[in-house]
Assembly symmetry: C2
């Protein structure tokens, strides 16, 4: 019989590559660790040759699902015990990915909504910065509605002229431009009454952090929330494992004692 798998976070990355690095940086930077060995074990499938998600959902590109399923297969093959995807839009395919994965997935929106709830009743109204596809699928809105939290989203023309160009600017490593575009899109939401922002596309915190935007202070960052959820899982799984090892050790001792009697 093979031993139970060690806790290992599998990361389906590459959507985009810089957002994946940002996620990994947040995991490492937020882990309480006194030495290398205390850090979260991760296996990262950062293969960005996945067809563009926004284009596929707009009906002008091939589906990213087969490439994502290959990544899920590799991560399971590497022994991942949980899988995360640091890309909000990719979660539109979550049902097919969950169905294909032995390892459970930690959902980025669940992690983000938990972070919003920790802000308490003063959080709303909540401005959602996300791709048109994420907004159309109501990935965030339905969960906020269920909690009685009001929300608002960018207007169509704000998505076209500010959000989407910002997103592709970050993907091209033009972080100043991307950050400025995201900030303009966010300010429109604040002008219309948003008291909290959800940076619900993983390029957004990369761009806003790069320009050191003040809006970060009033924002929930789903990338950070997902990193925190991974750290929480690792700390709990490690404790559980230590408990089991202690139990096995005690059973072994008691077994030996019985044989000696």
């Amino acid at each position: 019989m093979s031993p139970p798998l060690s806790p290992l976070i599998g990361v389906l990355g590459g959507m985009g590559p810089l957002a994946t690095v940002d996620f990994l940086h947040k995991v490492v930077g937020s882990t309480p660790a006194g030495r290398d060995q205390d850090h979260v074990p991760l296996v990262v499938w950062n293969v960005p040759q996945i067809p563009d998600r926004q284009q596929a959902l707009a009906g002008v590109g091939e589906s990213p699902l087969p490439a994502m399923l290959r990544g899920i297969e590799r991560l399971n093959g590497s022994g991942a015990t949980r899988i995360v995807i640091p890309c909000n839009t990719a979660h539109l395919w979550i049902d097919a990915l969950v169905a294909a994965s032995a390892a459970p997935l930690i959902h980025i929106v669940d992690a983000a909504i938990a972070a919003v709830e920790r802000r308490g009743a003063d959080a709303g109204p909540i401005g959602i910065l996300a791709t048109r596809a994420t907004l159309n699928a109501k990935l965030y809105q339905e969960r906020l509605d269920a909690r009685g939290l009001s929300w608002l989203i960018p207007a169509d023309d704000e998505i076209d002229t500010l959000f989407t160009p910002g997103c592709y600017a970050v993907k091209q490593n033009h972080l100043d431009r991307g950050g400025a575009l995201f900030e303009s899109a966010a300010r429109k939401l604040v002008e219309r009454g948003a008291r909290t922002l959800i940076l619900a596309c993983t390029e957004v915190p990369v761009g806003l952090a790069h320009i050191r935007s003040n809006l970060m202070k009033m924002s929930v960052d789903p990338t950070q929330a997902l990193a925190d959820a991974c750290i929480q899982y690792w700390l709990e799984a490690r404790e559980h494992r230590r408990g089991q090892e202690n139990l096995s050790f005690q059973l072994l001792i008691s077994d030996k004692n019985q044989k000696l009697e």
Copy 2:
């Protein structure tokens, strides 16, 4: 017959975890890319539960080799066509790792020395900032000697009081302190005549970049050099693959034409 493997860089990471993120950041940030799909495909085994390399080499800890070999096995299993290790000290076990890997390894010191050579004849004398184990093994010195480049290294007490504490400070995410300690160690080398520095431990560029040290300008960063080597491999392998695909396509066409005749 299975198709030839797509180019894929395997990263044996976790030594330390932040140095691995720094490496990935340098790969993504230095790749000429207009969209996600242009970026280097990477699979990263970032499992830091590897016994401490410096302690093992000082004879006060268990060997990291079995854990490193498990990582090499997983990366090969994931389809890696090249493997890199963003940790200089880990390269003391390179022969055993190369022997166990189907995918060739790209050696961090080879990449770094190539970067030193690109600086030309004015580079020397070269100050080497590295762990005691890396210095004792003459990982850098022998290659510099072979090229007629003079070098100097920290004194024993500078390693004990500046370099090693700097290294462990970065591993504990105390980047201000780590950066300041590394800078003090580096200044001693500059005072003794170093005209170029090699930051030959992957924690060093993380610390010095964090404090925005001026010494970065006179430094060769092996992490960046390794990232550049990976990008070079990816660009060449992709071109080669495209050439093969074009050739296959032409053969297919010519085959069809022959059948039609």
